[in-house]
Symmetry: C3
Subunit: 344 residues, 3 copies
């Protein structure tokens, strides 16, 4: 694609030679001739003088460098970078059709242009929407319903009767609809399994990371709402609800029946106890442990979680605790001396 | 099933119309006509007046509400709920038999009514007990021995020579018998792998969660004892022993050779170091980090783990640390003033 | 194998009957006749008098016990133990060849003695080196390049164009090359996916644990360098670099673009934020949370991570915080009394 064509498709202003052929998107330090790169953060502007890229996506108003790369001024360079990656994609997606080695059950509905990879298993009565791609080794249970334009990567489990909306992306090895961890403790201390036959609903535009697990409940549903993005190795227990546009980083765990509102961000390895309400827009920094419900708009840290600002201050003092303890001991010594003096 | 028949099978006292047809178990707030629900916790008794369920499983002595649902009085409503879910199960289990697409090795022993799903691989010399169900995409290694009435969900790995008892349930994607993480560090700083050929024994009535990993040791065994329940994404290292009826919530990790006794509860994301002994009945709250052995009957929290009661108190003070530090500084100021006064 | 032959092959000095037949390596407390065991730690020397093993691998200079087992003196008993396990391996590896049920794409290169197990999927243009073993149910994407003498256990995903060096071992269920977790946040709060088409390079002699996930970046590469060893359920985000001989214990998580140097050890459940530099030889104890770059040679603990020595001292005081707070309150009381006395 010529740089001019790329500029047109990304709706960018082009400064420089529009005839150069662009074949790849690359990071600014690794880019070479034929590459387009991006400068999302103005503080790295010095890279403009040193990059070997043919062109750079930049914010409007960025000045070109003499002898430097062509510039593509755009409203949102980071978004243009994402779009350029899609336009210059060198990876071909699997063709439509059902691989001969796949095992497809009875009464399966496959909409137009569905692609089913090698050695997939599609259970009886399952339904897949238009243009959905299922990579090899995926197991889809009976009665599962998957929308249009989904991408299900290799070796995913989607259990019986699970529902996925449109444009859902599931990375390799994820499990959707495994049994919730529910047992009744009997008088002799043993645990009887509570059958877990509830639903899991994954709404439109959700992404689910590799080897992430999402459990189904005994009754009712587990629900991941529109546009939520969930990273790798995340645990979502039975009956949890995850709000729209909410982000869970890798290795987050949310215990049963907790309701997470929209626009929440849980950073890596955060844990949330069961039966809580996490309010809209809550941000929890990495490794936070959340034992209680959290009000909307709060930023929290630590375990047990407290407001981030308090946690930062307390953590600073934590490091000084041995010194603080020594100061208290010295005070005790000095006050004892004063007391003695005064009692004389 | 009529409500009268359900009451008989659950051994409950019925108050209300026994002829109504019951088709589903549902949560009390979502239930409608034809549904049975349950009231395990008396504090939600007000729901009896508002639920649309046809019948409610309640503790003995619960009063019916005028115009409200039929009541099923039972000794343990939560257990009756679990049993009702089983009785009203709408999910059919796969039929007995070996799917034509499965790859079954030589000298494999399949007891009566075994079900092997599509695209499973059963290694040479493996043995599966009566009525055991293996869902699609499972790989069972050579010489593995699996008992009666097990349920192995899709895409599980059970490695060579691993042993499972009866009524073991393994959720999707779990790995049993992967190599323990054992290396010899050489003088040049590189690490040589110690071959891991030991055993893993999963005793009767164990449940293993989705994408959980249980390693085998170099020599000796890793053992999960009778009735232990292990949630998703848990790591159990080589040579670990997990006691009877012990519960590990999601994302727990236990390092090599640690012996966990019976009736222990480790909440979500707890970590346990290697070569420890965790005594009978120990409870560790979520995210606890356990660097040392723990006496039986202790409830612990924090990292490094301390008694829960101490941790709660210390955590409360942690939040006040900046204020405490200020108070110490003020004391230093006041005492300096007193010292000055007295020295005059 | 006779004990004499074993001694020769391990280059050990033999004291005792070299004609005894050795069939197995076992732990010193479980070993019986025909077993060889090892004594790596001199503090367990008393076991020499009680073990039923036929022979024990010991450090040079260890004295035999009257009527006790034969001794094999060696420079490094733990290394000899690893070698003995390999020599006495009772597990046969799968034979070379491609299982009839595997689905192999076009233009696939298989070097001599490659073994492809049942129901594997090998994408178009992939390449596997000599003697590499692929267990059942593995999915290898188009264009992936795998070196010689690798062992890929069951149900692993190796995505398109991923590169593995020689002697790489991947445990069951691991995912290499899943999409990095990268999104552009738009003005309306929704997130647009950034296509992730970058590379993952796994260098020689790396081990990757069961159900571990290693993401690919949008551009550039994720790289695991020579001899790094990564345990189960570890998350390695897009663009991370892991240094030579570095060790990650189970459930570690490293966020995007972080560069971990050589000879680092991250213990279980450690979390590392994105865009950091972790210096050579850094050691982080279990559950450490690392929000900032760390200088080479540092041992760190806690969250936020501080030097291990400081953390140990502060953690000791943490437990005494309620008492410390009480001491401060008492001081305030005593000083108020003094102030009153002096103002009289």
């Amino acid at each position: 694609m010529t740089l001019r064509e790329l500029a047109d498709r990304l709706q960018c202003n082009l400064t420089g030679d529009g005839d150069v052929n662009i074949t790849r998107v690359a990071a600014i330090e690794q880019a070479g001739p034929g590459d387009v790169t991006f400068l999302a953060n103005p503080k790295y502007q010095s890279h403009l003088a040193t990059t070997n890229a043919s062109a750079v996506l930049v914010a409007r108003g960025t000045s070109a460098v003499d002898g430097g790369p062509a510039l593509l001024e755009c409203a949102n360079p980071y978004l243009a970078f994402a779009q350029a990656l899609e336009l210059l994609r060198q990876v071909s997606m699997p063709p439509a059709g059902v691989d001969a080695s796949a095992v497809v059950g009875t009464d399966v509905t496959l909409a137009e242009q569905v692609s089913i990879g090698a050695l997939c298993v599609i259970g009886d009565g399952a339904s897949l929407g238009a243009r959905t791609i299922v990579f090899p080794g995926v197991v889809i249970g009976p009665g599962a319903v998957i929308g249009d334009d989904c991408v299900i990567h290799a070796r995913v489990s989607i259990r019986e009767r699970i529902q996925l909306g449109h444009r859902v992306v599931v990375q390799d090895g994820a499990v959707i609809g495994s049994d919730g961890f529910g047992f009744v403790r009997l008088a002799d201390g043993t645990h009887t399994k509570i059958p877990q036959h509830g639903d899991v609903v994954i709404e439109d535009d959700v992404e689910i990371g590799a080897n992430t697990t999402i459990d189904r409940p005994a009754v009712g549903e587990t629900r991941i709402r529109k546009g939520a993005k969930i990273d790798n190795l995340v645990q979502i227990a039975h009956g949890v609800s995850v709000g729209e546009r909410t982000i869970f980083a890798a290795q987050v765990g949310v215990a049963g029946s907790t309701q997470v509102a929209e626009d929440v961000v849980l950073a890596g390895q955060v844990g949330v106890a069961g039966h809580l309400k996490i309010g809209k827009g809550v941000i929890a920094t990495a490794q936070t442990g959340i034992p209680n419900s959290v009000d909307a708009g709060t930023m929290i840290s630590g375990y047990p979680a407290i407001p981030n600002r308090d946690w930062l201050k307390s953590s600073a003092v934590f490091r000084q605790l041995p010194a603080l303890k020594k100061r208290v001991a010295e005070l005790e010594q000095r006050i004892a001396e004063l007391e003695e003096k005064l009692s004389e």
